[in-house]
Amino acid sequence: MKVLIVDDSLTIRMDLTEILDAAALPAVACATLAEARRKLAEEHFELVILDILLPDGDGIELLKDIRSIASARDTAVMLLSTEAEIRDRVRGLTTGADDYVGKPYDPNYVVARAHELVRRNADSTPGEETVLVIDDSVTFREALKDALEQASYRVIVSDTGEDGLRLASDQRPSAVVVDGQLPGIDGATVIRRIRLDAALRGLPCLLLTASEDRGAEVHALDAGADAFVRKDEEIGVILARLKAALRSAGAQAQDRSTASLLGPKKILAVDDSETHLQELAEVLRADGYEVVLARSGEEALQLLAVQPVDCVLLDLLMPGIGGRETCRRIKNAPGIRDIPIVMLTAVEDREAMIQGLGAGADDYIAKSSDFDLLRARVLAQLRRKQFEDETRRIREQLLRAELEAVEARAAREIAEERTKLVAELQVKNEELESFSYSVAHDLRAPLRSIDGFGLALLEDYADKLDDDGRQFLTYVRESAQQMSQLIDDMLALSQVTRGEFERAPVDLSSIARLVGAQLQHATPDRQIEFIVADGLSAEGDTRLMTIAFENLLGNAWKYTGAQERARIEVGTLDEEPRIFYVRDNGAGFDMAYADKLFGMFQRLHARSEFEGTGIGLATVQRVIRRHGGRIWADAKVGQGATFYFTLDGDIRRDASVKGRPELVRQSTLGTAA
């Protein structure tokens, strides 16, 4: 825990070092930017207290450096400078300073702020925080995403405001970074809608503004953004602003309850009269307030856009937009509308008072050299604000608790419903399982009797039967055997659907060769030219792919039965994703019936011509579908058939078969019912 003080005044260096040391914040001091850079390179500081006007340059340049060095990004920076120009304050805060304290400073205030910044920094180590980035420029979005991810935020992105809002309510990010200019609703509108949403309103929002947008501060303020950053700033600055926004959002939740009236309060005084402003500042500083001075309504709005305060003292009569308009704008800006405004005017004018209050001021006093009344009123306003904050916090807590309860209930109900459905499904599966088992077992036993005793009749009583009788018995036996085959095929089909599915690398070449060898073994008299391409590898389930090849090659074997020179080929088309095929030069079929090919019990050939149950291709289709792939066929009567399939659900496949009308037409088969 170490603090670096950069200030050219020896008095200030000594004073700060002493009070920080006393407050258990060991400090190192230096007088120039060059020295500060050296110190920063040597060791890590939790906090840098930085003057802006330094002998060898601009303190904000050093701030920029700190924000652009990844290792120093989590260093908190407090600017401590003479309030010559409010522009410096705005510049400093938009460049990523965590706080800005004006000189002359109150030592206790500085120590309190230093403690707070260091503590918040320690509390808010990013990691579980999710940032939603809404920007229509892919380049910028990705650059920001990379930087955020490097800083260990989780990032979700969106390219439109509408989509971003949806994501925000779905995923509840910890913060939103939104581009001001978007194709649909703009960034300011996005933030405004977030502020209107009870569940999202506390979400820190960062508005990215175009570099040429002069009124950026006011826009951001209008929308209720917690901070804004120009898009041409270093990404480090965006990160710092985001971190600061997240810090103060986190701090709000914890601190509001404990922040007492005695804690440091920041007051913005706005007056075009320099004399009166200085008088005000002196009186209020003596009361322990941190006082920020603005010389016009415009300046006040600019400042409020980068740094909220606890109370505003606003002169009614000023050049430019004036007190009334300034007041109206503050009261219309979602993020800061709760800041109490005390209107000041030189004239004891009832009309002016009514106008001021009409614009939304919380109180009204006439300027006078006696500041006691003013001090009392300010204290009253701060107390009221405190009380309101407290009430709102309690209300919000209640609302949040209620929301959470509703969400928890909904989640519980969904979980219960799901458990019920899973249980039901399990029961159904078990029923199906036992049904299949019974079918397998009990349906076959009588078939065996029909076949067995049919044969026994033929063997033992052949002489008592005539030719017709013997023929009938043959039919009886054939039917029994056919039904047995049907049962086997249906069981195989149901196993394809209900069995386990395990995707792993499979060597389709080996599977095809193995199945081919079995078929060759079962039909030793067949002469078949069987060609399998090497290296047909894929991701799939070995058991299921074996079943698929058993059916595809079994068909090929069967339908080339009448062929003098049968040729069966397994290979792949030279395309991405890979399309595998099984091709034969067998009987083929009429493509007019291709849509019936994969249906249950569908056969395109007479049983007298080719044996079969019409379940094989339905089984193959289920296998391919379980892989997320597709299957289709191409054939001509008498000229063979080719079955094509893919094993991944890549939709680009349709494009890859362009220029082959027959394939395109058939490719829809795989997804047909």
Partner: protein, 147 residues
Amino acid sequence: MNREATILLVEDNPKDEALTLRALKKANISNNVVVARDGVEAIDYLIGSGPDGSRKPLPQLILLDLKLPKLDGHEVLKRIRDDERTRLLPVVILTTSVEEIDRFEGYRLGANSYVRKPVDFTEFARAVVQLGLYWLVLNEQPPVIRA
């Protein structure tokens, strides 16, 4: 072929019983075949003792169906393997089911072989002949355990 050898056929379906016996006869396997029609009968035959404490001679081969009344085939197999006197007997499961769970249980409990009964009698007969030839002729019997 060892003509003395007895085959124990555990089969509840009389038609399957008739078909099995016919297949054995067709294959000229004229061994003595004892039929148990449920699991309890099978266990009584193998493990139970008569009123005088005498026990029946053990078969050379057990053909065991799985779906049986009272005690099912797996349970019968388990008891055979649990009994000191019968634990080495060759047991061939002869059943309609080729469900994975049945095959797994069968082998896990110590079946020596698992054969599916085909529907086609010609194939069924061929299977029975092969079983007889293998288990009664080719295969050397385990030593008899005196208990």
